[in-house]
């Protein structure tokens, strides 16, 4: 018997709670800390999911005292928490575990101060020496912070007074080479098992529901393959523009921002084989097998299989909006893509010959993330031509956001004396049966890091595979002239070339309109 085991927890049906730990947020006064990290921690505290033995240390250059930081974070929680109004006593209790250190990530002294404070916290709050370092920093500051942790010995491989883990925000690298360099640097300090690359998409309930839909329902598996599926579409559409992120977006573009991570991860969840168990490594192994099986593109194949676009001025949500090149911090002759559509093939037994079409874009008509599994038409329709007008092949639509749910397109008889068949949509909305105050993705993911469950975090081999898939596209684009930008108006569903891409092999294939 483990003498340290808590007998009150044994066989308890209650939720998983974190072990004692202290969390250090580098970039603790930044936008992500305000909008997501601290509100998520407060919600966890409110729901009794944080341990009593817990503390947060924000680290940033802004000159705050502990009290000033607490006051600033209180405003953030009041503004961004999903559980408002703030619960006074719970906030006070949470805030008493909230600390701040003024310091730059490129100064050794900062890490000494963090180490001293963590020692004090461990003594006073019993955090057991467990440390979680959250890199809420712009990418150029990652390396310095990681190295600073390692050199100072406050965490990483040399640290043995508890576990130490690091959370890294996307993007993980700018291209394949820089990702590998970053990985080498990170794993010099932290072993891979302690590195949690956060992709907030994977923390969404609706994304996790893809796994539930596929592997909790026996009816889909027999038809989930190239015999029955004509093609798959993954759409990540945004109606917003770049939202004051011109500097970032000019160095990223849609392919790095969405396709390399969110879209390929969704593709992997759709295409993966059933894992034997839901153990983290089993799930991650199956996902990476899909990415390994994605056919690589290079040279002219990129030109044929990938469409890029950039929005011009137009109307979105009833408002006139400027062209990308007119946005702040964007070069007037920028060739950065705000739209990408691509065709991928998964070279394995299950999916041979079944195209996966991915698209993402800014300033599209509406915000929608969804996966469409388009089935092949019935092999023979015994109805007359007129009778089957309006009948389309079956499609299963997994709506990720908004209005999370599932739509199944079926053929049905039109009521009346004649045999007329039409397609009808059968909609299931999660909200009609499970609507609840869904946890924010960050709440789920932060709790998983503390518990040490990496299932929903991309492993390095998965990230590397994704970069290997994307890098030849980036190489091709950098060596060939771009299309004439802008090539779609804000408020349209992307450039015409994207429609041609999906219909070039089969004229009846088209993008589903979300």
């Amino acid at each position: 018997m483990d003498v340290d085991a808590n007998p009150f927890k044994v066989a308890e049906r209650s939720r998983a709670t974190s072990p004692p730990n202290a969390m250090v947020v580098f970039g603790g006064s930044g936008d992500l800390a305000h909008r997501k990290i601290i509100p998520a921690l407060y919600s966890l505290e409110l729901n009794r999911l944080l341990p009593q033995h817990f503390a947060v240390v924000g680290v940033s250059r802004s000159p705050y005292s502990h009290e000033e930081y607490r006051a600033d974070m209180r405003k953030a929680v009041e503004q961004f928490s999903r559980t408002r109004p703030i619960q006074e006593q719970v906030w006070e209790s949470f805030a008493s575990h909230l600390f701040y250190i003024t310091g730059s990530t490129d100064e050794a002294e900062t890490y000494d101060k963090v180490g001293d404070l963590l020692e004090r916290i461990e003594h006073e709050y019993g955090t057991d020496g467990n440390r979680l370092f959250y890199m809420s920093l712009i990418p150029t500051l990652f390396p310095g912070a990681i190295q600073g942790i390692g050199k100072s010995g406050i965490g990483g491989r040399g640290y043995d007074r508890g576990w130490s883990r690091v959370v890294v925000e996307k993007p993980f690298g700018h291209d394949l080479e820089s990702a590998r360099q970053l990985q080498a640097l990170v794993t010099e300090v932290f072993p891979e098992r302690d590195v949690f690359r956060i992709d907030h998409y994977l923390g969404k309930e609706s994304v996790q529901n893809i796994i539930a839909l596929r592997f909790a329902n026996g009816i889909f598996e027999p038809v989930w393959n190239h015999h029955y599926v004509d093609h798959v579409q993954v759409t990540v559409a945004e109606s917003i523009g770049i939202e004051h992120r011109g500097n970032f977006y000019e160095t990223a573009g849609a392919i790095r921002d969405i396709i390399q991570n969110h879209a390929l991860q969704l593709l992997a969840l759709i295409a993966m084989e059933p894992p034997a168990t839901f153990e983290p490594e089993e799930v991650r192994n199956e996902k990476v097998k899909v990415l390994k099986a994605l056919r690589r593109m290079a040279g002219e194949v990129v030109d044929r299989n990938v469409v890029r676009g950039q929005y011009g001025s137009g109307w979105v949500d009833g408002q006139p909006v400027p062209a990308y090149r007119e946005e702040p911090d964007v070069a007037p002759d920028s060739v950065v893509e705000t739209y990408v559509a691509a065709e991928f093939l998964v070279d394995n037994w299950r999916w041979a010959g079944t195209p996966f079409f991915l698209r993402t874009g800014k300033r599209l008509p509406k915000r929608a993330t969804e996966v469409v599994v388009q089935f092949k038409a019935a092999p023979h329709l015994p109805f007359g031509e007129a009778a089957k007008e309006g009948l389309e092949p079956n499609a299963l639509v997994l709506r990720i956001q908004p209005n999370e749910g599932i739509t199944l397109k079926l053929g049905a008889k039109v009521p009346g004396p004649s045999m007329q068949v039409r397609s009808v949509n059968m909609d299931f909305s999660y909200g009609t049966s499970f609507a609840d105050d869904l946890p924010d993705a960050y709440e789920r993911l932060l709790l998983d890091v503390m518990i040490g469950d990496p299932t929903l975090f991309p492993r390095w081999d998965s990230v590397e595979e994704a970069w290997q898939i994307i890098q030849p596209v980036l190489d091709r684009w950098s060596s060939t002239p771009p299309p004439e930008f802008p090539n779609y108006e804000a408020g349209e569903w992307g450039p015409k070339a994207a429609d041609e891409l999906i219909s070039r092999h089969r004229h009846d294939r088209r993008w589903r309109r979300p």
Binding site: P20, H53, Q89, V90, T127, D427, Y430, S433, D436
Partner: protein, 360 residues
């Protein structure tokens, strides 16, 4: 066909065979030209009451479940049998709009059945009104007639029986009967009081996950509880005793207290449950634990808005923490549990032993 109105919603009286028809039509026509409501079925809830007034209370409870309302709620008003037996039923579709987006509806259906048929026929009245092939939760208001035919018959079509021991007429004696029912193989049983104790249990447990109390729980020597609901005090004590392998040695009732002594791995433990007044199930719980430096205590106290945990351990600063209590509607939490809850059943067994030993 007459119509009964409830605030915001319309019940239509319909004979049991017509209930599905009414619900289908309401789903289709619902509300001022809005799109037809989609129904996604998850489970059934049967709420058994003995009077029309209690039935009305049950409807308010269902409404307060909001987003967690079961797909089909059947409120069964089981009146005493009489010679002129009859069944009346009403039905309506209800929905809850998500507060943030305003776009998503949680849809459920309410069916009220008022009857005085012989109890052995009640399953025949209820069964046709349930959604097929979905779990059936039965919530019994007040003390179920454990020995009566009506209970046996309805339990036979139930997957999970939910009671609220805080509403039991004779709490201690009824707790024993409930324990006996829970120990039978079917259905799984639970208690809303147990859900109200969730926050207390989590907060009492949490200090033992880390220093300085890690590894000391089995050295607990005393538990003092101040209970508003007697069964809440007994179930908390039962939970501690069952988790820590305490064996009841003796117990007695003195004035407004239950006093008990246990054999425990630490050599003995005492429990004192004092009845008190308050707005929560409990007002205070304190666990005393033997440590190398002396006694450490974990105390939880209810304030009007939260629970306060205070941990005192020799040589360590006193730690205080505020946390939210369990959710306001314990029935909602109970509806999320399928199957048996072994921890609850062990706690109930231990609580029942304690109630029995005090001579209740």
């Amino acid at each position: 066909m007459s119509t009964v109105h409830a605030p915001g919603w319309a019940f239509e009286e319909a004979a049991p065979p017509k209930v599905e028809e009414v619900l289908a039509r309401q789903r289709h026509d619902q509300e001022n030209g809005h799109a037809p409501l989609m129904r996604a079925s998850v489970n059934n809830l049967v709420m058994v009451t003995q009077s029309r007034t209690a039935g009305q209370r049950a409807l308010l409870t269902i409404e307060s479940l909001g987003a967690r309302a079961p797909s089909r709620c059947v409120v069964l008003i089981a009146e005493p049998p009489s010679e002129r037996q009859r069944v009346r039923s009403w039905a309506r579709v209800a929905h809850h709009r998500h507060s943030d987006t305003g776009a998503t509806d949680v849809v459920w259906e309410e069916v009220v059945v008022q009857t005085n048929v012989d109890p052995r026929h009640l399953p025949a009245v209820v069964l046709p009104l349930l959604l097929p092939e979905l779990p059936v939760f039965t919530y019994w208001e007040g003390t179920p007639p454990f020995a009566d035919e009506v209970f046996q018959e309805l339990a036979s079509v139930t997957d999970r029986l939910i009671v609220d021991t805080a509403t039991f007429g004779d709490p201690l004696a009824d707790l024993n009967r409930f324990d006996a029912a829970a120990r039978s193989r079917q259905p799984a049983a639970s208690d809303c009081v147990w859900s109200r104790l969730t926050a207390w249990r989590e907060l009492l447990s949490d200090p033992f996950n880390g220093p300085p109390l890690r590894g000391t729980a089995r050295r607990a020597r005393r538990l003092y509880v101040e209970a508003v609901d007697p069964t809440a005090g007994l179930e908390l004590a039962g939970w501690v005793a069952s988790r820590l392998d305490w064996r009841l040695r003796e117990a007695r009732a003195v004035d407004d207290q239950y006093l008990a002594s246990y054999d425990s791995p630490a050599g003995g433990a005492e429990v004192r449950i004092t009845s008190t007044l308050g707005s929560a199930s409990l007002t205070r719980a304190e666990l005393g634990v033997e440590t190398d430096g002396g006694e450490a205590t974990v105390r939880i106290e209810a304030t009007p808005t939260s629970l306060v945990t205070t941990v005192r351990a020799p040589g360590f600063p006193t730690a205080r923490r505020f946390g939210m209590g369990s959710e306001s509607n314990p029935l909602a939490a109970e509806l999320e549990i399928f199957g048996r809850d072994r921890v609850f059943e062990a706690a109930l067994r231990s609580a029942s032993e304690l109630a029995d030993a005090t001579g209740a």
